[in-house]
């Protein structure tokens, strides 16, 4: 249970329109602390000295809610793959290392304060997805709709998206294609989501563009940064469905 020393460069910004800059801190912390525990510890230290603590988002701290997220040493959610920053541990870093921490940066994710960004653009895209038709009446038997194993696996993989926004942060173009693709694939592949497949695709894609997310250049850094390892085959799915929806093949 060794302690490690780090030099931190943390982005500080008082408000959405304020000028931001890096502030340096030194910290000694148990190497098995999580990254966010390290920030909690740092905030104690800052408050003891009468300073304003660093603001950052988190909730579950077990990698399932999608609240946390920042860019650590130039990588969204830090250097480990398929790991949200709440699941990252200080043992990943070398003793004495300088660690830079920045917020996710995108026009569609305005900075609220320090490392907190406003990701409501994702909610608005999701709302555009609309409803999924459900028949009224008694609960149907679970086996009354047959879905092939491969298909249900694919849909489930897409459904594991936690909406954290790391894909946008990691994309050199700040594109939201992986998030939107994951949502569309999750619903589009299921028979329950099929009746609205085309409409959903058109509305969500247009909302994605309207929110000011960038275009997709097929670089795939989103997949590497995604804590759930969602594959860019979800993006191919979206591009295909967008064409089919426009051609009227999907209603």
């Amino acid at each position: 249970m060794a302690n490690k020393n780090f030099k931190l460069e943390v982005w500080r910004q008082d408000g959405p329109n304020a000028q931001g800059n890096f502030e340096s801190f030194d910290i000694e912390i148990n190497e098995h602390a999580s990254f966010l525990e390290m920030l909690d510890h740092l905030n104690e230290q800052i408050m003891n000295e009468g300073g304003r603590p660093i603001e950052f988002d988190s909730d579950c701290r077990e990698g399932i809610c999608g609240s946390c997220g920042c860019v650590v040493n130039g990588a969204a959610h830090g250097p480990e793959r398929e790991t949200a920053v709440c699941q990252l541990h200080m043992r990943t870093f070398q003793n004495g290392e300088t660690i830079t921490i920045e917020p996710f940066r995108a026009k569609a994710f305005p900075i609220v304060r320090d490392l907190v960004v406003d990701r409501e653009a994702f909610d608005r895209i999701q709302e555009k997805g609309g409803y999924v038709s459900v028949n009224t009446g008694p609960k149907p038997d679970a086996n009354s709709i047959k879905i092939g194993k491969e298909r249900s696996d694919e849909a489930f993989d897409a459904a594991t998206c936690i909406g954290c926004g790391a894909c946008v942060a990691a994309c050199p173009n700040a594109s939201a294609s992986l998030f939107v693709g994951a949502r569309l694939k999750h619903f589009g592949l299921m028979p329950q989501g099929a009746p609205e497949r085309g409409r959903r695709t058109l509305r969500m894609v247009h909302q994605m563009d309207d929110e000011g997310f960038g275009p997709c250049s097929n670089i795939g850094e989103c997949e590497a940064a995604c804590p759930k390892g969602i594959s860019i085959s979800a993006i191919a799915h979206m591009k295909r469905d967008f064409l089919f929806a426009n051609l009227g093949f999907h209603k």
């Binding site: 700040a174 275009p215 670089i219 850094e221 594959s231 591009k239």
Partner: protein, 241 residues
């Protein structure tokens, strides 16, 4: 109409056009390099007949075809600049202060994928220069002519011999073709993904195929300047004609 407009003005629709124009340009390059490879024989009649034949075979379609090719280039270039300069900047006006680090694994973040606008820009500059030299400058039409089967035709062969006598020009052409290879290393795979024609189980194979196409096409173009510069034809075919 409005549906078409909606497709074309969406971020996804623009990439359909990038991809289709990119494929069109690859198709053109394949025919172009196939014709150029007739230079390898060392017999001036081969390339000269090929060039003269292009005009007669295509007949009245020659100018429309040329026009379409220019259109493909312009579409590709216009969208490339719009996507990479205008939209990209707008989507992240406030850049990361520490340079981004790729996380590896499935990511294609790297030289080819991140520099499409630079490799493409150099290709565009080269294409303008190249078309000017061969097609538009009046010097070419008056200076390089020869007789083939009793008809006066452009003497492409002698032009190439003189062009690639310069080591600088040779090096420049070779360099540009390396950039073409880098452009296609990401471009081919990317175009298929842009059209949504990708399945997870094909992804690796198509990315690999992209590398093969990039290497084959770039190499096929690139050996010509070297071949001409060192006059390898006369060494390989000494005495055969």
């Amino acid at each position: 109409m409005s549906a078409l407009k909606k497709i074309l003005f969406s971020s996804i629709g623009k990439k359909y056009i990038m991809a289709i124009s990119g494929f069109g340009l690859i198709g053109f390059l394949v025919t172009h390099v196939a014709g150029n490879l007739t230079l390898l024989s060392g017999n001036p009649d081969h390339i000269n007949a090929y060039a003269a034949g292009l005009k007669t075979t295509l007949g009245p379609l020659f100018y429309p075809a040329e026009f379409a090719l220019v259109g493909l280039f312009l579409l590709h270039i216009f969208l490339a600049i719009y996507i990479n300069v205008v939209e990209k900047k707008a989507a992240r006006p406030d850049r990361y202060r520490k340079p981004q680090k790729g996380k590896g694994g499935p990511s294609k973040f790297g030289i080819a994928g991140s520099n499409m606008i630079i490799t493409g820009g150099l290709l565009g500059f080269f294409v303008v220069l190249h078309v000017w030299q061969i097609r538009l400058s009046s010097e070419f039409g008056s200076k390089y002519t020869t007789m083939l089967n009793g008809k006066e035709v452009a003497d492409i062969y002698r032009y190439c011999v003189e062009l690639f006598a310069s080591p600088l020009t040779t090096a420049f052409y070779v360099g540009v073709m390396v950039f073409l290879g880098i452009h296609l290393r990401h471009g081919f795979w990317s175009a298929i993904q842009s059209l949504g024609a990708m399945k997870p189980e094909w992804s690796k194979a198509i990315y690999g195929l992209g590398l093969v196409i990039a290497i084959v096409l770039a190499t096929a173009f690139l050996i010509l300047p070297i071949y001409m510069h060192f006059d390898l034809a006369s060494k390989l075919f000494a005495g055969s004609h």
